[in-house]
Symmetry: C2
Subunit: 362 residues, 2 copies
């Protein structure tokens, strides 16, 4: 089964400490929002969906044993502690969105006189736990949709791999360690494996933070998937010598026209894939698709400190005094993207906006 980075049952929460990976695999117990704030702030948990879910569940485990006199006191606790959790990593927008949803729910339940304080607590716990389940079930749907699309593409092309398992390449970490479980792009890889259709997966190192080498490689080794680590500079050479059927990557944000912001290096892989005729897929839940943004030109790219590039831990690897350019993300134009894999299906970038508007009207 896929790696469990979040272990939750009502009243109990543990998370896999990502700061110790890949060398040490150790779970940290999260007893309440103080612990939740700390594991998010220290980046023991990372990945936008995972941060939101661990934050909300840390409140659930704190509230679970408590007894509330009034719905108002419960509502105050929920609002105050969720806002506190948002402050752990203010730029992680998913935590803010989830907090707002739960605060709205708490307000609605407070106003509804037919509901007791105990019932309100149960409903709140259920809603929190539903987030965990929805993230995993969305990822499973993304995995199934993506695997089907890749296999269909190979079958249509009628290439050497048409009948058999395929080789795919992924970038950065989009697996159990970045989500509530299963993963987005890595969910597609997992689903190919479940179908016995994964011949091999190549994962890129993903400089400067090495999420591929540290985290994706860790997940792939953990699950004994047939996998090989390559450097970010090797993708073109790999495409020349291996018959790679598809690239599948995650997304930080997809614009209405399909332009996709993702981890630095994604755009370069898309260019190289185009040159070699390898289809390039983006796996993203609907929550990552922002129809308010018409194109990638409107996405602001965070530029991060030089030290991420010049050091590995305390070890300096670059010449002292050299300037660095360290954008955390780049934007892949829609024209280079074969399909955007969502929990509701795989869409061509040009159809994305219309298809999602259709879904939202249902």
């Amino acid at each position: 089964m896929s790696l469990q980075s979040i272990k939750y049952k009502r009243g109990s929460l543990e998370i896999l400490d990502q700061l110790l990976l890949p060398v040490v695999s150790k779970y940290v117990t999260v007893r309440g929002v103080e612990d939740g704030w700390r594991v998010i702030n220290k980046m023991q948990v990372r990945g936008a969906p995972a941060i939101a879910i661990v934050g909300c569940l840390s409140l659930a485990v704190e509230i679970h044993p408590e007894v509330f006199e009034t719905k108002k006191s419960l509502r105050q606790e929920i609002e105050g502690k969720l806002n506190y959790l948002v402050s752990a990593r203010p730029t992680a927008v998913n935590m803010k969105i989830s907090a707002d949803e739960l605060i709205t729910l708490a307000n609605d339940l407070t106003k509804d006189d037919a509901i007791s304080v105990d019932e309100m607590k149960q409903r709140f716990l259920n809603a929190t736990e539903a987030m965990l389940e929805k993230d995993i079930s969305d990822n499973r749907a993304i995995g199934a949709n993506g695997a089907k699309a890749i296999l269909q593409h190979v079958a249509d092309a009628g290439g050497a791999q048409a009948a058999g398992p395929v080789r795919v390449l992924t970038h950065c970490n989009t697996g159990s360690l970045a989500t509530a479980g299963y993963g987005t792009a890595l969910g597609v890889v997992r689903h190919l494996s479940e179908l016995n259709k994964l011949e091999h997966v190549y994962c890129t190192e993903t400089r400067p933070y090495n999420q591929g080498a540290r985290l994706t490689a860790y997940e792939l080794v953990h699950e004994k998937l047939p996998a090989t680590l390559v450097l970010d500079s090797m993708v073109a050479a790999l495409f020349r010598v291996k018959n790679v059927a598809a690239v599948v990557v995650g997304a930080d944000r997809v614009a209405a026209n399909g332009d996709t912001a993702n981890k630095i290096g994604t755009y370069q892989i898309a260019v190289v894939a185009k040159h070699h005729g390898v289809p390039f897929y983006v796996a993203a839940p609907l929550t990552s698709i922002d129809l308010q943004i018409p194109s990638g030109d409107h996405i602001i790219i965070e530029v991060r400190p030089d030290r991420e590039m010049t050091h590995v831990g305390e070890h300096r690897i670059a010449a002292p005094g050299i300037n660095c350019w360290n954008p955390a993300f780049d934007v892949t134009p829609a024209a280079l993207i074969t399909g955007i894999i969502t929990e509701h299906g795989v869409f061509e970038p040009s159809q994305l906006k219309a298809e999602i508007q259709k879904l939202l009207q249902l």
Copy 2:
């Protein structure tokens, strides 16, 4: 002036210890062939031309104070010690070629009865020192030819940079630290700067051995050239936001049709340059062009140990148990190469063979 990695005057040789770079800049005295063998074997000196020159000069400083009774004893000393030096890094073909040339010279001088033993020693020292001078003068010619070609290309294109200084990108280390001085691709960058035509140079980190971040960045900082380090994954993103006029890289071996083997990642940069319409130049002395090899398909690529990818020093950066693919080089097809910059001029790949055959017949 450009960084001096080899400091030589008759009877004295020092080399910059590349194992300590970029953190410590320390010269090591080479008193003879024992020292020469050791600095080559330990990789305190690296880069094929630099290895050959340091090896030969280490013999020159050893022979310089010695008195030889007979030409035969001098010849024996030369042959024995050069063959010993070749054993320090048997795959570095330049050392072998230089050793063979000097052994042939020693044999010829031994046979020539008009030459005394002292004169033979002087001629041998002169020949050794001429290698150092020729490498630097060839590099200076490459630098001038490359700079001219890049500026001409920009002028012909009539772009925004047509009148002013240009931005260029280079990969790996091809500078004073890899050659006797000045450098090949980095020699082109240096010459642009000497012409006041270098706006900025971007150097890639060059995983896994980080020659760009450690060595090229060190040279650029040392000479106060306007420079920025980028990761290997950032080249496409850089081309989108910066008006880069040209890529210039070195070569380990150029085939007769222009296909070029060079440090891993070169081919990927060439693909990305093509996509963005950025001209892509290879800088290589004639000694790196092998007309015996019809195309890149005949070049065997060395695959190196996983540990180079999984560790930085003693620090593990990849998940234990992951497979790695670590080719040291890749082959860039001639179709992606704008021009091959040599000490005799810049040639289109399709003209390379005919032009060099013409030069060799002169």
